[in-house]
């Protein structure tokens, strides 16, 4: 009861402090800026992005061709009617149109210019045909897209069924294995009203131009009612919604967590928080009390966004671990940064990595099971109306929950005078924090615990590699993932040894190293198996899982491997000093990789 009271008091102070610093001199300007932002984005949307204006030079021998390129600001046009039969390079342009033919100069730029011109020509033809009285003579063919749902999982990629390239087609028509369900043929009727059709057509064309610029292949998802398209507008959709969602949700969360980060940092500047720490309040209450207003604020913001898009409130649950994750890292960064510039750099760095972790998988929403690694995918599912199951939820969020809680625990344990007011680099701070977890008497148990604790972070990094590289051609993706995974694991395992040296400087000897390595390896293995059991059976059954988590083989084999690798790193540090750590890590990674390769040889050779 008393603790709750303390907690609420602290939160109340925090809110008051926040509003007193953000008040008077800031409010009028923020309002002005906000209005400006709205006005400017409106203006920018209207005038378009002028990033590539005048990039290409084109010579025209007849002014009629201006109908084709005149609309495109990327082209500077020249009259080259007097340069008959000259080549573009002599005239000094990238492209020349002469007698109805496109001539181009040498080089990449002219090639790009021609590609763009071809797209412009397509758009021009469409404009001409669209004006035709008889629309179905100008556009005789209309295509409707329909989809069949067939979700891939990780096993599919290795089981001959590739994501990108299918196998050879047989001479005979393939027979389905499962019983055939009778399907009604589609009703072939294009909306009779050709005026409506004409409007929807010009709408589609306008949209198409924006994205087509860069790739010529992706199109914005169609929002119109008319499902029929003409062939030239038939482009695969880019998951645009997802990309926008990420930014809509992540940015407010990022900014709010920044305020929390600054609040922690401010306690540290000039030792302002000394009185607070000296007060008879437990650190956990201190941290939670300061954090509560921001957490509530973030949930409020997210709910407001969800309400404004009229989404089911179910969508809020996947975002809670994301909020916790941001807050945990804000706390951590606020505690370790030495200066404001360091604070900025680390927080920008962290948020970019975190955003991409959320972002990459959700690009594949509905496409591939890898998308479920990101909680944002669940939000997309809810908004699309498909929803998610409890398994999906655990699968997507458990790593976020675990890493946040572990980070909170580490920070709260180290929320003391010594750690907060020492100035040292990130690595030293991290070592200091880890050494805070080592108990003098049961040091081996502490190491075991650190081993377990590293697992969620390692997994998270490995998931990132998986997401980044799983789509590369098979042996390359596997090798790259394995190398990075081994390297990350070795770093995580070395953390225990480093913490031990930091906590008990002259304690390390060969005997201690061997026992310590065993403890770390045991903890690592225990944590790995536990987490895999709970969450990611999907991935760990596939060859990617084997590459990442060594789930094949007897238990003692991976144990021995983990132990030997820690021993290698530890011995390097023990006999050659701390400077030899990178060398030890390298050696351990090689051993680790060799072991993994040996086990996976069937997949590679």
């Amino acid at each position: 009861m008393q603790m709750l009271h303390q907690l609420l008091t602290l939160s109340y102070w925090e809110i008051r402090r926040f509003f007193s610093t953000m008040s008077r001199d800031l409010l009028p300007l923020s309002v002005v800026l906000l209005i400006l932002l709205v006005v400017v984005s409106g203006f920018a949307a209207q005038s378009g992005m002028h990033l590539q204006d005048g990039l290409y030079q084109i010579g025209l021998d007849k002014p009629e061709y201006l109908d084709i390129v005149g609309y495109d600001p990327r082209y500077l046009t020249y009259d080259t009617s007097s340069y008959a039969a000259a080549n573009p390079r002599e005239v000094g342009v990238d492209l020349m149109i002469q007698y109805g033919q496109i001539f181009r100069a040498q080089g990449e730029k002219a090639r790009a210019a021609q590609k763009s011109l071809e797209r412009d020509y397509q758009a021009y033809t469409d404009r001409v045909y669209q004006e035709q009285e008889d629309l179905f003579a100008a556009y005789p063919l209309w295509i409707e897209n329909d989809y069949v749902i067939s979700e891939l999982d990780f096993l599919a990629t290795q089981g001959g069924q590739q994501l990108v390239v299918p196998g050879q087609a047989a001479l005979e028509a393939p027979e389905p294995e499962l019983p055939v369900i009778l399907v009604d043929p589609p009703l072939s009727s294009v909306p009779a009203d050709s005026e409506l059709l004409r409007m929807s057509l010009s709408d589609q064309m306008a949209k198409d131009q924006d994205i087509n610029r860069y790739t010529g292949m992706l199109a914005q998802q169609d929002t119109l009612d008319n499902p029929y398209k003409i062939p030239s507008l038939l482009s695969p959709p880019l998951p645009f919604d997802t990309i926008i969602f990420i930014f809509v949700f992540i940015f407010p969360l990022y900014f709010t967590s920044q305020f929390f980060m600054m609040s922690i940092m401010n306690e540290r500047t000039l030792r302002q928080g000394e009185a607070l720490i000296a007060a008879p309040i437990r650190p956990i209450i201190l941290v939670l009390g300061k954090m509560l207003p921001y957490a509530v604020g973030m949930i409020f913001i997210v709910s407001a966004i969800l309400c404004s898009v009229q989404a089911d409130i179910m969508a809020i649950f996947p975002l809670i671990p994301v909020i916790l994750f941001f807050l945990a890292f804000a706390l951590f960064i606020g505690m370790i940064a030495r200066s404001y510039k360091e604070l900025s750099f680390i927080s920008i760095f962290f948020s970019t990595i975190a955003t991409s972790y959320l972002f990459f998988p959700s690009i594949f929403a509905n496409v591939h099971i890898v998308s479920l690694l990101s909680p944002i995918t669940l939000v997309v599912h809810v908004i699309q109306g498909t929803g998610y199951t409890l398994t999906d939820y655990i699968y997507a969020t458990s790593l976020f929950y675990l890493t946040s809680f572990i980070l909170f625990a580490i920070c709260i344990r180290n929320f003391g005078e010594e750690q907060l007011f020492t100035e040292s680099g990130i690595i030293q701070k991290l070592t200091l924090y880890l050494s805070g977890l080592i108990s003098m008497r049961n040091w081996w148990f502490s190491l075991f615990f650190i081993g377990i604790m590293c697992i969620p972070f390692v997994l998270m990094a490995q998931m990132m590699y998986l997401v980044l590289f799983f789509n590369l051609p098979m042996p390359a993706s596997l090798l790259l993932i394995m190398l990075l995974a081994a390297w990350t694991e070795e770093i995580a395992k070395a953390a225990g040894i480093i913490a031990l040296i930091e906590a008990l400087p002259s304690f390390l000897n060969l005997r201690v190293l061997i026992i310590g390595s065993a403890a770390i390896a045991a903890g690592f293995l225990f944590g790995e198996k536990l987490l895999l059991f709970v969450t990611i059976s999907q991935i760990s059954d596939s060859v990617f899982g084997a590459a990442l988590f060594l789930s094949i083989g007897m238990l003692w084999m991976p144990f021995l491997l983990h132990m030997v690798c820690v021993l290698i790193t530890g011995a390097a540090v023990l006999y050659a000093g701390k400077r030899a750590l990178p060398f030890g890590l390298l050696l351990a990674t090689i051993v680790h990789l060799a072991y993994n390769l040996y086990h996976l040889q069937g997949w590679i050779w």
Partner: protein, 355 residues
């Protein structure tokens, strides 16, 4: 203002950055963002364009043709990538679901010379990467089919577009526009944002850590201290820009007009840094200054991009070796803006040193 003392302050800040090594994080971050955006554009479209892999020439996609009689099977057979099968719709869809076919097409009943539209329904696997590839490939065939139908109905068309055909075809996919028109300008302006954030940190830190008073007991005047900090951030701009340009050249991306680009980047970044410095001096508080500055920076960027010949546009033009007639004018304008902003900084500093 004593330049020597300003330089001493600038060196102190640079040393601080070097000893904290966090600037490495910033550079790493930029690299990451470059990777990220390349993944988005190049990576995604490479997935959509199988020829980018170069190893899929022999691949054949099975396509089920169902519904009414059509000349589509013949058209598809002309393309070595497709093997058409005439099938029953239900069977074909079941095979598609098991990924034994790449696509299923159902042909509607309209005859080529009818008044109404010829319709097709194209079934593919929902949101699948492979389907995207197939759709791109099928599009070629559909366009051919459309042209054939259009020729049959050409008596009913009153105006034809001006004919235009390429003398030489462009077969490979090119990312020229993405690299020169988006990546390079963005990468070169990232240092401006970083340095602007940095100058806020450096200035507010002194007042919030209360180290400013100590600094002011030295012979350096406040304007020299602020000048040194701004100078340190400014020096980083050409250094980082050069680093990027070097990296891009190593990737065999040729960049024209190097000196002009660096000059332009430095001058226009200077404007951003000075604005950030004014906010920092005004608020003397990191949270406030960063918040206001980031909002202002977004507004400024959007506004600049809304006009042709903005600095980012000019960088794209210069890098691509295209004529940039407004280059000099923009340089002059930036220099003038720098001058005005410098005067504002001096006024703000003078006002605050009186307090």
């Amino acid at each position: 203002m004593n330049l020597k003392r300003t330089w001493i302050i600038a060196r102190k800040e640079l040393r601080g950055l070097a000893s904290e090594k966090t600037i490495l994080l910033a550079i790493l971050l930029q690299l990451f963002i470059a990777l990220f955006s390349s993944f988005l554009m190049v990576g995604l479209s490479a997935m959509y364009d199988p020829s980018a892999y170069g190893r899929v020439s022999g691949v054949q996609y099975g396509v089920g043709i169902t519904g009414n009689d059509t000349i589509l099977p013949g058209l598809l057979e002309d393309n070595p990538s497709f093997v058409p099968y005439e099938m029953d719709l239900s069977v074909a869809l079941a095979a598609l679901k098991e990924r034994k076919l790449a696509a299923v097409i159902w042909a509607g009943g309209t005859l080529p010379d009818d008044n109404g539209p010829v319709t097709l329904t194209l079934y593919t696997i929902k949101n699948d990467i492979q389907s995207a590839v197939i759709e791109v490939k099928l599009k070629e065939t559909f366009l051919k089919y459309e042209q054939m139908l259009r020729d049959i109905r050409k008596d009913r068309i009153t105006e034809e577009p001006i004919p235009l055909r390429p003398y030489r075809l462009v077969t490979t996919n090119t990312f020229y526009e993405f690299i020169y028109g988006l990546l390079i300008p963005l990468l070169l302006f990232m240092p401006a944002i970083i340095s602007a954030g940095l100058v806020i940190d450096l200035i507010t830190e002194e007042s919030q850590q209360q180290t400013l008073d100590t600094l002011r007991t030295t012979p350096a005047a406040l304007i020299e201290i602020i000048g040194g900090k701004i100078g340190a951030c400014l020096i980083l701009i050409p250094v980082q820009a050069c680093l990027w340009l070097l990296l891009l050249s190593l990737n065999r991306i040729l960049i024209a007009n190097l000196a002009e680009i660096i000059l332009l980047v430095t001058l226009s970044s200077f404007v951003v840094i000075l604005i950030a410095a004014i906010f920092a001096l005004h608020y003397q508080d990191r949270t406030k200054a960063q918040f206001i500055f980031s909002t202002a920076a977004v507004i400024l960027l959007l506004l600049a991009l809304a006009f042709p010949n903005n600095p980012l546009n000019l960088i794209a033009l210069l890098a691509a070796g295209s004529p940039a007639p407004y280059h000099g004018a923009v340089l002059l304008a930036s220099a003038g803006l720098c001058l005005i902003l410098t005067i504002i900084v001096r006024v703000v500093v003078r006002n605050s040193s009186r307090v």
